[in-house]
Symmetry: C2
Subunit: 210 residues, 2 copies
């Protein structure tokens, strides 16, 4: 193992490997081969081995990988051995869906607060999470040292929300608004933009019926 640039696609796959290993462990499987992991992910065995080899030697030649150990290693790599404090911007339908989504809790993410600018929403709770005025966002993030900000509002105000999060010294932003957002380099940012995938689908459907 040496220091080298690791493809983002590798990190994405690590996250999926971990999920797959969880399932295996729940089914009582203790040993797994790169071949089997690959099958579970529609990937290739060489890819699996290469991805893991960036970070160490986790397997046993002639045998395979210990499911539980490998999962622990991957979680450590991804930074999932401790909890993460998240806050949500947007108390609309999407925000509500995210608060109620199982995936956050099961992976150690805790949405601590929601921020919105609609007076009738402020003071309420959604799925047990309090809704605050967006005017309090910067202070809250600073005070609570929230690390992850999730943007779930329409594109028109998404950049403003990002700016507030940055002002609060957030570490990372997950943006669900279908638009481009700019943040300073020290802030990690990824967009989940389903609209572009929808159009990738239509492109492929149109193109393949030649």
């Amino acid at each position: 193992m040496k220091t080298q640039k690791i493809p983002e696609a590798t990190i994405v796959r690590l996250s999926m490997y971990s999920r797959f290993l969880n399932n295996l462990a729940n089914n009582g499987v203790t040993i797994v081969s790169s071949e089997e992991i690959a099958k579970g992910l529609n990937g290739s065995p060489a890819q699996v081995r290469k991805d893991l080899a960036y970070f160490g030697e986790f397997g046993t030649r002639g045998v395979g990988y210990n499911v539980r150990d490998l999962n622990e290693q991957i979680k450590k790599i991804l930074g999932l051995t401790h909890k993460w404090k998240a806050i949500l911007v947007g108390a609309g339908h999407l925000g509500t869906a995210l608060i109620n989504h199982k995936a956050f809790k099961t992976r150690g993410f805790e949405i601590q607060a929601v921020f919105d600018n609609a007076p009738q929403k402020i003071g309420q709770t959604i799925g047990g999470v309090p809704v605050y005025d967006v005017a309090e966002l910067v202070d809250y993030v600073k005070r609570e040292k929230a690390q992850i900000g999730i943007i779930a509002i329409p594109p028109a105000h998404a950049q403003e929300a990002a700016d507030l999060l940055v002002q609060g010294e957030i570490k990372a932003i997950l943006n669900f608004a279908p638009c481009v957002i700019t943040v300073p380099p020290q802030v990690e940012m990824r967009s989940v933009d389903f609209t572009v995938y929808l159009e990738v689908l239509t492109y492929n459907v149109e193109t393949n019926r030649k």
Copy 2:
């Protein structure tokens, strides 16, 4: 322009260019350069030109691109000159968020029906869209010739939902469940998996504070 393999990343960017061009047009801009498009997308001018050049010569040397014309061309490439019939599987929070999402209507996608297995939801409407029993899904998709199926249910049953959509001869599937789904090659499928991006963020936050 010749027939060659076009990177998926190019299609993703085309979708974003189109959105950007919509904004420009709404602001009364008529001509745009690759440089300006690049700035709007945090990309490079060469990339913009290369992406567009896969499909034709849409610009004028020394001048730039006509905003409206280029947008029309891109929409044609993406198959957005006609409407798309979509159906949704899952009448939960996420499904509700998707039905109410502006992005579908503005890009020509119409969610015609929602399918769920909860008896108390069947017969209701959500955002004006009727909720049907999932038992009727296959027939409905065949009869209405729905082209796009959207999966918005927990991972445990996502593959079953995909199988039903495939049985109904759907053309494309957009999967929001955080799991791997397998479909036959003639069906286009993409997953919108925000959980992996969340973990890409944590990986980067952990790694960059060395």
